[in-house]
C-alpha cells in the first residue's frame, strides 16, 4: 500500500509538469489547429537560455527566471513569425509539418551552440522534502509540480480573465471571423506562440532541475503527445487531468511492472494507455463536443 501511495504521489508531481506541457500544446492547437511537434526542442532551448543567464552570467534567480522565460517567449515569437505566420489561412496540416521540421532545426541549433554534452543543473530551492515513516517525497519534484501549477493557473487567468484572453479565445474559434471584427489574428497567434514557448521553458527548467540539462532532454517533450491525445486535443481541463494520469501511469509502471523484468517499460506505458483511450474515445477523454443547434 505504501509503495502504491509513494508511486502515485511521485506521479502526481511529475504529472503537473506534463500537464503544463500539454497546456502549451493545447493552446497552440486551439488557436491554429497545429500540433507543435517541436515542444521538446522549445523546452531545451528555454532551459539553455535560463542556464546561460543563471549559471553562466550568475544573475540572481528572481532576475534570471523572468528574463529566461521572456527570452524563451521571444524565441517562440520569432519562430512563429518566420514559419507559421506565412502559412496562415493554409491547411493546418502544413503548419504541423513545419513544426516537425522545426524540431530538427532547433535541435541541431542547440547542438551547434551548446554541444551534446550534459550540463549540471541545480537550483538552490528551499528543501521541502516530505518524509514520514513510510513515505518520502523529495523536494525537487514537489517544486517542479508547484511551479508548473502556478504557471498553469497564471495562463488560465490570462486566458479567461482578460480582454486579451477573450480575443485569444475568439481567434481560437475562428480566425476569419475574428479578423472581421477587428481582432488582429496574426498578432494574437504570435502572442500564443510566445506564451506557449515561455511556459514550455518553465517545464523544461523544472525537468532539468532533476539532474542535468542536455539536448537529449527534448525527448521528454514527446511525453506531451500522450498527454494531449488522452486529454483531448482542444481541452485545457483535459490537459491537466491527462497530465496527472500520464505521470501516475508512468510512475506506477516504474514501481510495479519494471521490477518484473521489463526494463524501460516506464517510458512506454503512457503510450499504451494512450492507445487504449483512443480505442474507446477517439477524441480523447475531454475532446470538444461540437455544438449542434436543435
Amino acid at each position: 500500500m505504501n509503495d502504491f501511495l509513494q508511486a502515485v504521489g511521485d506521479g502526481v508531481f511529475i504529472g503537473f509538469v506534463y500537464a503544463l506541457l500539454g497546456l502549451c500544446i493545447v493552446i497552440v492547437f486551439k488557436a491554429s489547429e497545429t500540433f507543435n511537434f517541436a515542444a521538446g526542442e522549445f523546452m531545451v532551448i528555454g532551459s539553455f537560455l535560463f542556464y546561460v543567464l543563471f549559471f553562466d552570467l550568475g544573475l540572481p534567480l528572481a532576475v534570471a527566471l523572468p528574463l529566461g522565460l521572456a527570452a524563451a517567449g521571444l524565441v517562440g515569437g520569432i519562430v512563429e513569425w518566420f514559419t507559421i505566420k506565412p502559412l496562415l489561412g493554409r491547411s493546418p496540416l502544413s503548419m504541423t509539418m513545419v513544426t516537425l521540421g522545426l524540431a530538427f532545426l532547433l535541435r541541431s541549433s542547440v547542438q551547434f551552440i551548446w554541444g551534446s554534452e550534459s550540463y549540471s543543473f541545480f537550483l538552490e530551492l528551499p528543501d521541502i522534502t516530505v518524509e514520514t515513516e513510510e513515505l518520502l517525497f523529495i523536494s525537487d519534484p514537489i517544486w517542479a509540480g508547484f511551479f508548473s501549477m502556478v504557471t498553469f493557473i497564471l495562463v488560465l487567468l490570462f486566458l479567461f480573465r482578460t480582454r486579451w484572453g477573450l480575443a485569444i479565445q475568439a481567434v481560437s474559434e475562428d480566425q476569419a471571423k475574428s479578423m472581421a471584427f477587428g481582432i488582429n489574428a496574426r498578432f494574437i497567434l504570435l502572442i500564443i506562440w510566445a506564451i506557449s514557448a515561455a511556459c514550455i521553458a518553465v517545464a523544461g527548467i523544472m525537468i532539468s532541475n532533476f539532474g542535468a540539462l542536455s539536448v537529449e532532454a527534448a525527448s521528454v517533450g514527446l511525453r506531451s503527445i500522450p498527454v494531449v491525445l488522452i486529454g483531448g486535443m482542444d481541452s485545457i481541463g483535459g490537459a491537466l487531468i491527462a497530465g496527472i494520469i500520464v505521470g501516475v501511469c508512468e510512475s506506477l509502471a516504474g514501481a510495479y511492472i519494471e521490477p518484473m523484468g521489463l526494463v524501460g517499460f516506464k517510458e512506454v506505458a503512457p503510450y499504451f494507455l494512450m492507445l487504449l483511450v483512443l480505442f474507446i474515445r477517439p477524441y480523447g477523454l475531454f475532446g470538444t463536443v461540437r455544438i449542434e443547434r436543435v
Binding site: A176, G182, I183
Partner: protein, 261 residues
C-alpha cells in the same frame, strides 16, 4: 465615401472572380448589391474589408478608395481602426463557444475605451431579444438571434460603414423583415450600409440605390425604386416575369443578352 474602381480579384492565381467591378458608395445611404450565386458579391466585400489575402485571393488590378485615399492592401484590423469600416461575414459570424456577452466584448477588442458597457446596453436597445440570453453560449441561440448578435457585434466596433453579407440567410420571412427594419434604423443613426442580398425584393425595399452584379461586373445600377421596376431585374431576381412558361435556355441570361447597357 467609398469608391471601387475597376477592381479585379483572382483566387489561387487562376480563378478570376471580380472582373473589373466599379461602384461608388455615398455617405449615409443604404446601397444594395444583388446578384446570382458566384457573381462575386462576397469576394467584393472581403476585398473591401482587407481580408482577401486570408482566402488566398489577390487584387491584380484596380483600386479601392476611402474618401480618395487608397485602402488597397491594408490589413483588416487597420482598415477597421482607421476608417470605421466593419464587415459582417455571411452565415452569422459569431463565436459559437463564447457566451453572447463574451461575443460582444470580444468584438470590442479593437477599441480599448471604457464605454464598452454602455455600448452593450445600446446593442440591447436595438436587439432586446439578446438581453435574456446574455449568458448562454451563442452556438445555442436561434438563427435570428445569432444574426442579430452578429450585427450587434459589428455595432460594438462603432462602424461608420457597415458591410452586411446576406443577413437574411436562413431566416424566416418575419424575422428578416424585423432585421431589415433594424438595418434601416441603423442607417438613420448615421451608419452607411452596403447590403448584399439574395432577397432582392426586401433589400431593394429598404435600399436607396442598387447595383446588379454578374460574373464579377456591374451590369446595372440605379435608384432602388427604379431597379424594382426594371423588367430584367424583375424577371431574374424577383421571379416576376411576364407569366408565360419559358425554356431553361432562355433563363440563361448571359446567353440571351450579350450586353446589358
Amino acid at each position: 465615401m467609398l469608391a471601387i474602381e475597376n477592381l479585379r480579384v483572382v483566387y489561387h492565381d487562376v480563378i478570376s472572380v471580380l472582373n473589373g467591378i466599379s461602384l461608388e458608395v455615398r455617405d449615409g445611404e443604404i446601397l444594395v448589391i444583388i446578384g446570382a450565386n458566384g457573381a462575386g458579391k462576397t469576394t467584393l466585400l472581403r476585398t473591401v474589408a482587407g481580408m482577401i489575402h486570408f482566402y488566398d485571393g489577390d487584387v491584380i488590378d484596380g483600386d479601392i478608395k476611402m474618401d480618395d485615399v487608397s485602402i488597397k492592401g491594408l490589413d483588416s484590423a487597420d482598415i477597421m481602426k482607421r476608417y470605421s469600416l466593419t464587415y459582417v461575414m455571411e452565415d452569422r459570424p459569431i463565436f459559437e463557444y463564447l457566451t453572447i456577452e463574451e461575443n460582444l466584448k470580444a468584438a470590442s477588442y479593437s477599441r480599448w475605451d471604457k464605454n464598452v458597457k454602455n455600448d452593450i446596453g445600446m446593442v440591447f436597445d436595438y436587439f432586446p431579444a439578446l438581453k435574456n440570453t446574455l449568458n448562454r453560449r451563442a452556438g445555442y441561440a436561434s438563427g435570428g438571434e445569432q444574426q442579430m448578435l452578429a450585427i450587434g457585434m459589428a455595432l460594438m466596433t462603432k462602424p461608420k460603414l457597415l458591410l452586411l453579407d446576406e443577413p437574411s440567410l436562413g431566416l424566416a420571412p418575419l424575422i428578416t423583415e424585423e432585421l431589415f427594419q433594424i438595418i434601416q434604423q441603423l442607417n438613420k443613426n448615421d451608419i452607411t450600409i452596403i447590403l448584399v442580398e439574395q432577397n432582392a425584393h426586401a433589400a431593394l425595399g429598404i435600399g436607396d440605390r442598387g447595383y446588379v452584379v454578374e460574373l464579377g461586373r456591374v451590369v446595372l445600377n440605379g435608384e432602388a425604386s427604379e431597379l424594382l421596376k426594371n423588367e430584367d431585374v424583375r424577371e431574374f431576381y424577383l421571379g416576376a416575369g411576364e407569366g408565360k412558361r419559358k425554356s431553361y435556355k432562355d433563363a440563361k441570361r448571359y446567353k440571351r443578352r450579350k450586353r446589358w447597357l
